[in-house]
Subunit: 225 residues, 2 copies
DNA sequence: CAGCGATGTGAAAACTTAGTGAAATGGTGT
DNA sequence: ACACCATTTCACTAAGTTTTCACATCGCTG
């Protein structure tokens, strides 16, 4: 599934585009300005970006420049009529397409598909490893990434290991002792309440999906969908 | 064993497919429309879905989109002749194969097997634990789950342990002393009527299936089907 | 069919456990 | 040595569980 970042300072526009994108089966994320867009690109891997030109804090072109320094992600610019000059400039810095406002969301979607198809043969899924998905919780063990509603969750090493172990043993009751010996190692001689603390932190990072980690009172924990 | 969800508004079609699926050794479930299909997917884990396109309430494509948001399950669409346009659209949203009505059930089964083999490398049965079933009482020791008529029973730790112990020794008379030393531990120095209280609570949680826990007057208890 | 010991049951008391925030510890790179 | 972060320990609390006990009920036996 393609991940798309929508950058525009007008909430209304972001909402409409996001809705259409969802309908097309994309997973969409939003940013209000160039600054936020750059930040989000650092944290997450998107397959394509829809970027407005005129925005506070950091304009679209500067944002694209910043982003291209880090990652090579296709970009479609959304510009107001009469910014023809910018058009040329845009292609120079690696913009893939242009849509002039006011646009029809349908047209934007068509262009997204076109750009993705163009860059696709190799690049689709270049960013993503085989990942498991439970509702809005995406787990990519190979890439050691966890996404909560499309947002990358920053877990500590132990949190990753604990989560991966539990997912690999999903539906199975795991005692603290078992977790300690399999995740921490047989040579860990410590308090078994350590597990609780890590579970606490893991849960807080999983936000809504903390519900997948169920407590088995008097026993331990398990991961269950 | 693979679990398959058959979605079609025509009962006749569902029945025929279910019968063939059973014959192939699949475990099948049915939904009448897209809405029901989405709901069932939220609640259960299927290995593959057979989805009709034209249905009341929620059409097949929309249903697939919804489902793909939550879980990545392979889908085979069942469409009437002349919906070729949909075909293209369908592959876009992640449909694995198409069968055009009228179809032969055999062909559908062949395609199911093909899709499963393609996506399979290990996914069958990953979702479910081995569980024992006595009438409407289902016991999943690995996952520490007990279901009474499909409803999850919330047992306390001792209740689980007591039940699991008794089930593991089903048909065998168990004295209070034996239960205390094996379930509570050799170091329990307490009233042996404690067992009675736990039996009482366990029974009340097992509802109708309390009958499996039989009292052996002057002796103890046993689990018997 | 009365009496008696054994079991069923409800409720209160005694006890355990898990969630949590904060502090102590340990490890890494600058 | 320092700051920074991850990890572990710990103490406290709220919630849940276990045990005990008293009384009701049952079923056998004389």
């Amino acid at each position: 599934m393609y991940k798309i970042l929508i950058v525009d300072d007008e909430q209304k526009i972001r909402e409409v585009l996001a809705e259409y994108a969802d309908f097309e089966g994309f997973c969409s994320d939003q940013a209000q300005d160039g600054m936020e867009a750059v930040l989000k690109c650092k944290q997450n891997d998107y397959d394509i970006i829809l970027m407005d030109v005129m925005m506070p804090k950091l304009d679209g072109f500067s944002a694209v420049k910043e982003i291209k320094k880090i990652k090579d992600i296709p970009v479609i610019m959304l510009s107001a009529r009469g910014e023809e000059y910018d058009k040329l400039f845009g292609f120079e810095i690696g913009v893939d397409d242009y849509v002039v406002k006011p646009f029809s969301p349908k047209e934007v979607m068509a262009r997204i598909n076109a750009v993705l198809k163009r860059n696709a043969p190799s690049s689709a899924n270049k960013n993503t490893n085989p990942s498991i998905k439970y509702d809005g919780l995406e787990i990519d063990m190979l890439g050691r990434n966890v996404y909560v509603d499309g947002q990358k969750a920053e877990l500590t090493p132990k949190e990753y290991e604990l989560l991966f172990y539990m997912v690999n043993n999903k539906g199975i009751a795991l005692s603290r002792e078992k977790l300690l010996s399999d995740v921490w190692g047989y040579d860990f001689y410590g308090d078994d309440r350590t597990v609780d603390t890590h579970i606490k932190m893991l849960r807080s990072n999983l936000k809504d999906y903390r519900r997948f980690i169920v407590t088995l009172r008097g026993m331990g924990y398990k991961f269950e969908v």
